[in-house]
């Protein structure tokens, strides 16, 4: 039982990282990408494979996973300078599904049957305790880092950019650079979370990183309140823990897995309709409606249309 709670704590922590990173892109950058899970996947597979095949030490492999995810983010952030709104959603989806499809079909990543035999980061009886502590320490560092970044001069620039991108450019500020940076930071955090996931759960399958997981992460960000530091943290914890409650019913797996899926979907839809403003809603930013109007009708300031 303790093991179960520790696993939940680790999963929740990883989701906090993912959602907080996603929030950099969605909330602070105002870029409506859905591709966050693919950076999670890139981090997870890179770190797992580097350590398995090349014997790279784990901390280094994890950092490499995060770095590669950050670099891969250019695949979405550069297009985001050309297209936005619906088109960015669809283009980012194409990017994500394309890469997941590759993972699904090549030998190196174990293809559809998944990658097993990943090295464990921590061994021994206290494994889960130690790992939970590691994950949550990293969470704390990342959350504090994000808070430091979004307050102060950088945060001032981000807020101004979200408020009015043209006026922002007319002051000499480079919106593109900020967007690309936020994308890389958010994706790098996702890559790190992926690496952490792999070296604890020791098994990866491509279908963890599909479109449904995009919708899940989006919900985590907006349920708590986008463009706030605490919103995605609470959203991630809530949406990780709630669907697990039915585990206590002790149903057979053939019923449990789909039932959990049904309940989770229902939960997401309920949130959309009952709490569209986010749990800390009512403010101008945050919540599901943060991107309507000006948020999506971004003009292409900077003149590189």
């Amino acid at each position: 039982m303790t093991e179960f709670f520790l696993t939940m704590a680790i999963l929740a922590g990883l989701n906090v990282l993912l959602a907080s990173g996603f929030n950099m892109i969605l909330g602070y950058g105002g870029l409506v990408s859905v591709a966050q899970p693919v950076f999670y996947a890139i981090g997870a597979y890179t770190s797992a494979l580097l350590s398995m095949k090349l014997g790279v030490p784990l901390p280094l492999a994890m950092l490499a996973g995060a770095a590669l995810a950050a670099i891969a983010s250019f695949g979405v952030s550069l297009p985001s300078l050309r297209v936005s709104g619906d088109y960015l959603v669809i283009a980012s989806m194409g990017f994500q599904l394309g890469i997941v499809h590759v993972i699904n079909n090549i030998e190196l990543t174990g293809a559809a049957s998944g990658l097993s035999g990943i090295l464990s980061a921590v061994e021994g009886p206290g494994r889960s305790w130690i790992y939970a502590a590691i994950v949550w320490t990293i969470c704390a560092v990342v959350i504090l880092g994000i808070r430091w970044l979004v307050t102060g001069p950088y945060g001032r620039a981000i807020t101004a950019m979200r408020n009015d991108e043209e006026a922002f450019a007319s002051l000499g500020r480079d919106a593109m650079r900020i967007k690309v940076t936020l994308f890389a930071v958010g994706s790098g955090i996702a890559g790190l979370a992926g690496a952490l996931y792999g070296h604890y759960f020791l098994f990866l399958t491509p279908d963890q990183f599909g479109i449904f997981s995009s919708a899940t992460l989006l919900t985590m960000v907006v349920v708590g309140g986008a463009a706030t530091v605490r919103g995605p943290v609470l959203g991630a914890i809530l949406l990780t823990v709630l669907p697990e409650a039915i585990r206590f019913l002790q149903l057979p797996v053939s019923i449990m897995a789909p039932l959990q899926g049904v309940l989770f979907s229902a939960l997401v839809i309920l949130f959309i309709f009952l709490k569209p403003e986010g749990l800390f809603g009512g403010t101008a930013v945050g919540g599901l409606e943060a991107w309507q109007g000006r948020g999506t009708a971004r003009s292409k300031a900077g003149g590189r249309v």
Binding site: L149, Y154, G302
Partner: protein, 251 residues
Amino acid sequence: MLSARGLTKKFGGVVVAQDLDLDLELGRVVALIGPNGAGKTTLFNMLTGFVRPDGGTISFDGRRIENMPAHQRARVGIARTWQRPRLFESLTLLDNVMVSERDYLGESIGNLIFRHGEVERAEDDARDRALGFLDRVGLAARADSLSTRLSYGQQKLVGLARALMNDGRCILLDEPMAGVEGRTIETMKAVVRAEAEAGKAICIVEHNIGFIRDICDSAVFMFNGRIVASGSIDDLLADKRLGALYFGSHA
């Protein structure tokens, strides 16, 4: 200083700018007048990089800039305001002005981490300068309030302060007096006049004739995307044909 030649722009099939030439000199204030829809704002947008001209050249300080993105034009010293104030509504007045600092070190995460001390010092400087500009427009006391709590005219003053913070040698003001009333009128006039006297190259789109007479050295009259006349203010205002164009299109 700033010199445009042959700027042309079509939106769809509509010609909104046809072969426009404009020269701005240091220490001179040029008024850009003409009825609504004449293409004055489009000209500003082409000069500042928000509309890409279909043809023509722009040079600033001897440098060709027509292919430069908007933010870089601001960085070389072309500041502008907008018809609406377009303040950042989630920021305080002080932050609104501070974010306009020309070399904004805090824009780079690298600087924030590796040049932390420098960033801090730059922030302190920027805060002092921003407060100075807010003081000039009479709003220093409200530096910490949100822009949404100001009157429209006051918001335009903050917009002006924000443009001045850029410290560019060329300033383009888009209808600075529109919507400005009461005490703010005099403040607006005084600040613009002071900038002109400080030797900036200024271009103003404006309908307020009194303001133009008061401040501008010469004027350019636009109609239907073309420059139809230019010269001294008095000559242009005395021209009956231009008057007919101006007021005719309002009817």
